[in-house]
Structures are given as structure tokens and as C-alpha cells.
């Protein structure tokens, strides 16, 4: 049982994640933008954050991830990033390589496969504090 914050600008993604994670007894909160997500994270102090890459310029998911990692209280919250990048290009996020540059702990591709989301969430929730990827270089673009 954990507190999970889902951040995405798309209602349907929030809906899907909520439905899946609720069946495992987690408490879910949702936010519709990166900036709102950061504020809600401070209030709710979640055990895990599910974050979309997001296309919207100002509130993009990477920025939210950097802000969370710079926050003393939130720094050690594991972040699971949702992306659909690999469909567009053959490019695929690689945790070993890109994890150094993006301060997130795991990537899950859309469309969401329930079992995959659940097992990654479980794994991250058990990750120890010092294994969280708190580093990352700012200018990844």
C-alpha cells in the first residue's frame, strides 16, 4: 500500500493508471500538468511518482523531474516515466545509459500494459534510498 502521484496532461492516461494501481490498494492522486504535479507532490509526499514525458512546452515532464530532484524533501521519491517515444523513432530509452542524464528511475512505454506498470511500480517501491537516480544533467535536449 503506497501513496502514488500520477502526473499527465492527458485525462485518459491518469484514468488508466488510477484504475490499474487502485486494484493493488494504492492511494492515488492525479495532477494535470508538471507545475501542478510539483505542488501536489509537496503536499501529498508520495512514495512514488508516475510522470508523463508530456509534449506541452512549459510544463513538460522532464522539467518536473528536475524540480522534484532538486527538492530536499522529494529528492528520494522514485520516478517512473511514461513515454511513447519509441513508437515515433526507433529510439528507446535505456535506463543504464539515459538514466544518468534523466533523473528518473524507470521508463514504461505507452500504451500501458497493466502487468508491466504494476511490476515496475512494485520494484521501484522497494528500491532503497541511495539507489534512486538523483543525478542527471540539465541540458539533455
Amino acid at each position: 500500500m503506497a501513496k502514488i502521484l500520477c502526473i499527465d496532461d492527458e485525462l485518459d492516461v491518469l484514468e488508466t493508471c488510477t484504475t490499474i494501481l487502485k486494484t493493488k490498494g494504492h492511494t492515488i492522486k492525479c495532477a494535470g500538468s508538471g507545475s501542478d504535479g510539483y505542488l501536489k507532490a509537496k503536499e501529498f509526499s508520495p512514495d512514488l511518482i508516475v510522470l508523463d514525458v508530456m509534449m506541452d512546452d512549459e510544463t513538460d515532464g522532464f522539467h518536473a523531474a528536475y524540480k522534484i530532484r532538486q527538492d530536499e524533501k522529494l529528492k528520494h521519491v522514485p520516478i517512473l516515466m511514461l513515454s511513447s517515444i519509441n513508437q515515433a523513432s526507433k529510439f528507446k530509452f535505456n535506463k543504464e545509459k539515459d538514466g544518468q542524464f534523466l533523473p528518473v528511475d524507470e521508463f514504461v512505454e505507452k500504451p500501458i500494459i497493466p502487468q508491466k506498470l504494476i511490476s515496475e511500480v512494485d520494484r521501484l517501491l522497494h528500491l532503497s534510498k541511495d539507489k534512486i537516480n538523483t543525478e542527471g544533467v540539465r541540458n539533455i535536449y
Partner: protein, 380 residues
């Protein structure tokens, strides 16, 4: 002040020194391009000198002698094939038609005939620079166009991908019966999926409109059309949606309102205004659409279209953005309304063919008024 690099190839030392001296003191004003140009000249005396010079430097202007010890200028022309703009002037002792043709075919822009003086060089260089700047401007323009195209396509790909991902994620939930065995538990998921499919359908029709518009005047048919009739067809097609929510559409048109325009263009304009006014309205709201001709002048070609609604309105800070491609207001009220964000950008494109304009007045929770002015296409 901008400096252009010139490569001069001539086997006569006198000419090399002469041209170099003239150009290095020369400052050229090109007011049309707001440029002031100076020249940096490198002079070589042979084909081999030319080849080593172009190996590690990019030149903007070439001045090539036709006859050289180890080859001729036309062969050099063929070797200049850099992708960036450059312009070549040929020097020849006597102008023969066949030489001119051959050099021009290979990309020479201009010729100076020996003997020549400083004023001839300056005049030729001036023409060449103007042409050079034109090429550059054109290239920037093309590059910009490609960039815009690329951005459009990547946003489009995203817009197509998101609904498909959303629907597939929902289906994955259903496949694994995440909400139990009763179909009724899935009502929300099903209705959301249907709404995303509507988004996609709308996107596809909007894209078709857009390609049609971007194809330009080729498939526009300018004829006398009856705007009143077109409007009443458009109203009819949105009325079903409107009635379901108790929204009343009133249209006011003075007379028959005949005008010269393309029928599909006008349908696109009216349909977009009307569907928006209904979609972004409240239950039991109203839509008023009026079309009139400028009455101050009976010969005037100006047509005014006004569409106002009693809907959700648009916040000040969102008003400007809406006319851009794929821009939609995202808030709790618009969440469940299907759309592509292309409609108003299409309206704007259509209006550009009629030297038209669109303006918006809106207040959140009170409603919006879109006003269009357009000019009839005359001369038919």
C-alpha cells in the same frame, strides 16, 4: 558591415592585382537587403591554385578567367558544387556566343570582357552580390518552410499517437478485466474511447481541409454562390448536436446574399464557427450567426460574418493562441469535448485568400463572439 569572400583566378598578374585593389577598397551598399558589403579577395593564377584554395575555404563569389595555363574556367565552374549559395563571374578576352552559352550552362552568372576598368568590375560585382543575397534569402526561406513542415508533422504524429495509446491502454484494462466482469463497470472507459476516436476522426477531416487549402487556388472554384443557402445547410448539419443539448441556433441573413467565392471555403468557415459555438456552449444555450454585406456602400465587396454564443468563453491569455495549429484550451470544461485544435487555424488560412480577418471577443462563463470580415473575389 558584412564581408564576402572572393576567389579570383587569373594567370595575368596585372589583372589579379587590379581586381584585388578595386574590390578591397570597394564598399557596396545594397539598400533592398539593408546590407553593406566589403570584400576579402584571394587571388590565384592556376587551376591547381584554385583547387587548393577551395579545399579549405568557402567562397561566396568567384571571378574566373576563361583561359588558364593548366586548364580553363568552365572546367573550374563544374568543380564548384557547394550546396550553399555562390555566384560566378567569368572573365574572357573575347566574347563568343558558344563560350557564353557553355559557361552559363555550367552556372556562370555574368561576364566581363577584357579589357575592362574598375567601373565594369564594380558593376558586375554589384549585380553578382545582389543575386547572391537573393539566393541566400531564398535558401533561408526554404529552410524555414522545411522546419515548419517538420514541426507540423511531429506534432501531428503526437496527436495521432495519443488517442491510439489511450484507447489501447483502456483495451488492455478490459482484456484483463481490471474492473470486474460486469460490462457496465466499463461504461466510462468505453465512452472515453469513443470520444478519443471522435477526436481522431475530426483530426482526419481537418487535415483533409488543410491539404485542400494548402493546395492553393488550383482547386478553388470561384463562382456566384448563395451564402444564405450555404449557411442554412451548415446550421442543419450541426442542429442535431445542438438540439440534443437544448441549444438554439438563430441565423440572420439579409436577402439572398450572393457573393463570388469558393463554396467549400465558405462551408469550412461557417462549419468551424458553428461547431465551435455549439461544442463549447452550455446546455440550453444559444448561438446567433449573422451574415451581412457592408451597407455603407452598395458596390462594396466586404462581407461580415458574426457568430456569438452563450458558451464557456475563452480566457484572455488563451485568446491569441487559439488560431495556431493544434492549439486547444485545456481545462475541466473542455476535457471531454472532442477536437483537433486545427479548426481556427484552417479558418485563418481560408481567410487569407479573401484578404479577410477574424476577431474574437470573449468572456469566461459568458460566451464568445467571432467576427469575420472578408472580401468577395471580384473580376468574374
Amino acid at each position: 558591415m558584412r564581408t564576402l569572400n572572393v576567389l579570383l583566378v587569373d594567370d595575368e598578374e596585372g589583372i589579379r592585382l587590379g581586381i584585388k585593389r578595386v574590390l578591397q577598397k570597394f564598399i557596396l551598399e545594397i539598400p533592398e537587403f539593408e546590407e553593406q558589403i566589403s570584400f576579402e579577395v584571394e587571388a590565384v593564377d592556376s587551376v591547381s591554385g584554385f583547387l587548393s584554395a577551395i579545399k579549405d575555404k568557402k567562397f561566396d563569389l568567384y571571378v574566373l578567367d576563361y583561359l588558364l595555363k593548366d586548364g580553363n574556367g568552365v572546367d573550374l565552374l563544374k568543380k564548384i558544387n557547394s550546396p550553399s549559395p555562390q555566384v560566378t563571374i567569368m572573365i574572357s578576352a573575347h566574347s563568343t556566343l558558344s563560350l557564353t552559352i557553355e559557361a552559363t550552362k555550367n552556372g556562370a552568372f555574368d561576364f566581363i570582357i577584357k579589357p575592362f576598368g574598375p567601373s565594369e568590375i564594380k558593376a558586375a560585382v554589384k549585380r553578382a552580390v545582389e543575386y547572391f543575397l537573393l539566393l541566400e534569402r531564398n535558401e533561408n526561406f526554404e529552410r524555414e518552410k522545411k522546419k515548419i513542415r517538420f514541426e507540423f508533422i511531429s506534432v501531428l504524429a503526437h496527436e495521432l499517437k495519443s488517442p491510439i495509446n489511450a484507447i489501447e491502454s483502456y483495451l488492455n484494462l478490459m482484456v484483463e478485466s481490471y474492473l470486474g466482469d460486469k460490462l457496465s463497470e466499463y461504461a466510462n472507459i468505453i465512452s472515453r474511447s469513443k470520444s478519443r476516436i471522435q477526436d481522431m476522426r475530426k483530426l482526419i477531416t481537418d487535415l483533409l481541409d488543410l491539404t485542400r487549402i494548402e493546395a492553393g487556388s488550383r482547386n478553388r472554384v470561384i463562382e456566384e454562390i448563395n451564402l444564405k443557402e450555404i449557411l442554412s445547410n451548415c446550421v442543419e448539419s450541426v442542429n442535431f448536436q445542438a438540439q440534443k443539448r437544448g441549444i438554439i441556433i438563430k441565423s440572420i441573413v439579409d436577402g439572398e446574399l450572393l457573393m463570388f467565392a469558393d463554396k467549400t471555403d465558405m462551408e469550412i468557415l461557417l462549419n468551424n464557427l458553428l461547431t465551435n459555438a455549439v461544442k463549447y456552449n452550455v446546455d440550453n444555450g444559444s448561438v446567433d450567426i449573422s451574415i451581412r454585406r457592408d451597407i455603407s456602400d452598395s458596390d462594396s465587396e466586404k462581407i461580415f460574418i458574426e457568430c456569438s454564443d452563450s458558451g464557456i468563453g475563452i480566457a484572455e491569455e488563451d485568446q491569441k493562441k487559439l488560431f495556431g495549429e493544434f492549439s486547444r484550451v485545456k481545462n475541466d470544461k473542455t476535457r471531454n469535448i472532442a477536437g483537433s485544435g486545427l479548426g481556427l487555424s484552417i479558418v485563418k488560412k481560408v481567410l487569407s485568400y479573401y484578404d479577410g480577418e477574424i476577431n474574437l471577443e470573449s468572456k469566461v462563463n459568458f460566451g464568445s463572439k467571432f467576427s469575420i470580415v472578408l472580401n468577395e473575389i471580384k473580376g468574374k
